[in-house]
Amino acid sequence: MPTSAADFELYRQMQRIRRFEETVLEAFPRGEFYGTTHTYVGQEANAVGVLSGIADGDVVVSNHRCHGHFLAYGGSMDALAAELMGRQTGVCGGRSGSQHIQWKDFYANGILGGTLPLAVGMALSEKRAGLGRVVIAFLGDGTLGEGITYESLNMAALWGLPVAFILEDNRYAQTTPLRLNLAGEMAGRFTAFGIPLVEADTTDVLEIQAIGEKAISHVRSGAGPFATILHTYRFAPHSKGDDTRDPAEVAHYRERDPLPLQGRRLDEATRRDVEKIVETEVEEAFRRAAGAPPADPSRLTEPLSGYA
């Protein structure tokens, strides 16, 4: 059976994220980056599956672990690499670094949960605008600790807003396993507010794509917010060297790696092609970033548009 264009594209997107993140992790110890980063290795199927269903003008609200969301959204890999390397050509000219990417209708921030009321406010705007646009808001399991999460869920539901909450449960917040963070049931955190949801424990991008489509069509139809709980796993450390998880556990989840799972749907030659194309793309992105001019202090602007 020949590879379908859809399968090809899903695999390519995931591979782009995977190789981008792996390159970041390799390059960090060599001092090519500055600051910190949180990579998406292992969770690629979530961003790629869900965001394959968005339309132009839809809003994506991301968090500290934003590279995968950004690339799946359609953000420029060159600009992302340049941002991480503090270049003038970075997504935000080097101001934002890894965690605060903003481009078109994509918004990330490093304060856990703080982005969620923004997502609700944007959904309110879009509902008023009536153009059928929706907001996709990603959050992690640990972010269920923040009170603002619940303020946001309540108002999203109360006002019937077009926002899909995508909870990526990778079973840890930094080093803390779910059971030390979360009382009761995850699903209840949404149903308590009357928000319908789908929960899935899968790394299959096709399944996740179907779930994402359900979520997006629900919110786009005007039926109010929707939640998806995607149980997943990250293969790499929380940020850089800080992995305290049992290696056997990591290995166990590695068996469910979303990439080979989707890769098997491509014929062997095509898969190799994809990998080669992506390899070149990632190498080029980092090479171009490395060659780009460093962020230029003379371009710093005042944070307010004027005194008076």
Binding site: Q102, G121, E126, A129, I148, M155, T301, L304, S305
Partner: protein, 337 residues
């Protein structure tokens, strides 16, 4: 008589009428109640689709305001008491104030957060504070305070309609029932306005000789400072100039320095305790500029929470007598005619 509250309310109506982009939200803001201090009265009747009463979620509603502003609306969020701004501090400091700059100026956040501040209503320690000092000096956040002079409604309109950055708009509770004073009709005072969007006013006793003292104040304290200005003139023959700021942060140094360059004496007046407050910034600006040619003092509350009982509250908050005493302590020579 038009009160400050009337003007603010009319201004809100005017902005809603002027632009469909203006959305008003807050706790208990629907008619007939119209918000705890009634600034929104009539608004939900006139614009039912653009006035939203919210759950008791101060952080959430400020964040929702930020989100709306990012998408091109001009939201106005009412926080019922300024004391609750502490709950929205993260949204103001880490989101509203940073987003524009952090995005490399790709987006903007034309948000206004309005809130009543201040004491002398006996509301006790969590409903009487003057907390704006904790929001001064945040890069990217403008703090504006209304007073009873000139054009309170215009000031609010500037923040809502003309400012593309987030504004924390502070309204002292005692100003709501106060009559708006026209600059051209201040009775015992001459008034002068400078600046544009968020003006600075300067006030002197009519016919007084050149001032030998600069008083700086904002909000409700301008009223106490005016009273002090009169008493200094009549009882002590000390003639001062009162410089009134409407933009508290960032401080525009020019009008301050202009006045102090003439008087070389600065007394700041604020309702919060002076520690690390607004007055400290003004004194520091003046001291940096005029170095060994400045006398300075600050008047504010005692460094305590605001108590509930009347006599305690009166003892803790600064009054006209405190201003007088501090002014006399500045060692001001009687003005020479």
């Amino acid at each position: 008589m038009t009160t400050v509250l009337d003007e603010l309310r009319q201004s809100l109506h005017g902005c809603m009428q002027e632009s469909e982009q203006v959305i008003f939200l807050g706790e208990d803001v629907l008619d007939p109640y119209g918000g705890a201090f009634k600034a929104a009265r009539g608004l939900s009747t006139a614009y039912p689709a653009r006035v939203i009463t919210t759950p008791v979620s101060e952080a959430g509603i400020v964040g929702i305001g930020v989100g709306m502003a990012l998408r091109g609306l001009r939201p106005v969020v009412e926080i019922m008491f300024g004391d609750f701004l502490t709950l929205a501090a993260d949204q103001l400091i880490n989101h509203a104030a940073k987003l524009r700059w952090m995005s490399n100026d790709q987006v903007q956040v034309p948000l206004v957060v309005r809130t009543p501040m201040g004491g002398r209503r006996g509301y006790g320690p969590t409903h009487s504070q003057t907390l704006e000092k904790h929001f001064l000096g945040v890069p990217g956040l403008r703090v504006v305070a209304v007073c009873d002079l000139d054009d309170p409604g215009g000031l609010l309109r500037s923040a809502i309609m003309e400012d593309d950055d987030p504004v924390l708009f502070v309204e002292h509770k005692l100003l709501y029932p106060a009559a708006v004073q026209s600059l051209h009709d201040l009775g015992e005072f001459d008034g002068h306005r400078s600046g544009t969007r968020y003006p600075v006013y300067s006030i002197r006793v009519v016919g007084a000789p050149n001032p030998v003292l600069t008083l700086a104040a904002y909000g409700h304290m301008t009223d106490l400072a005016r009273k002090a200005l009169l008493r200094l003139a009549y009882e002590h023959e000390i003639f001062g100039e009162l410089v009134i700021f409407t933009q508290l942060s960032p401080v525009d140094p020019a009008p301050l320095l202009e006045s102090v360059s003439r008087t070389r004496r600065l007394l700041t007046v604020e309702e919060a305790s002076v520690a690390a407050g607004w007055g400290a910034e003004l004194v520091a600006i003046a001291a940096e500029r005029f170095g060994p040619d400045l006398r300075a003092g600050r008047v504010g509350a005692r460094q305590m929470p605001v108590p509930a009982a009347g006599p305690l509250e009166e003892a803790v908050l600064p009054g006209v007598e405190d201003i007088l005493r501090a002014a006399l302590n500045l060692g001001v020579a009687t003005s020479s005619r």
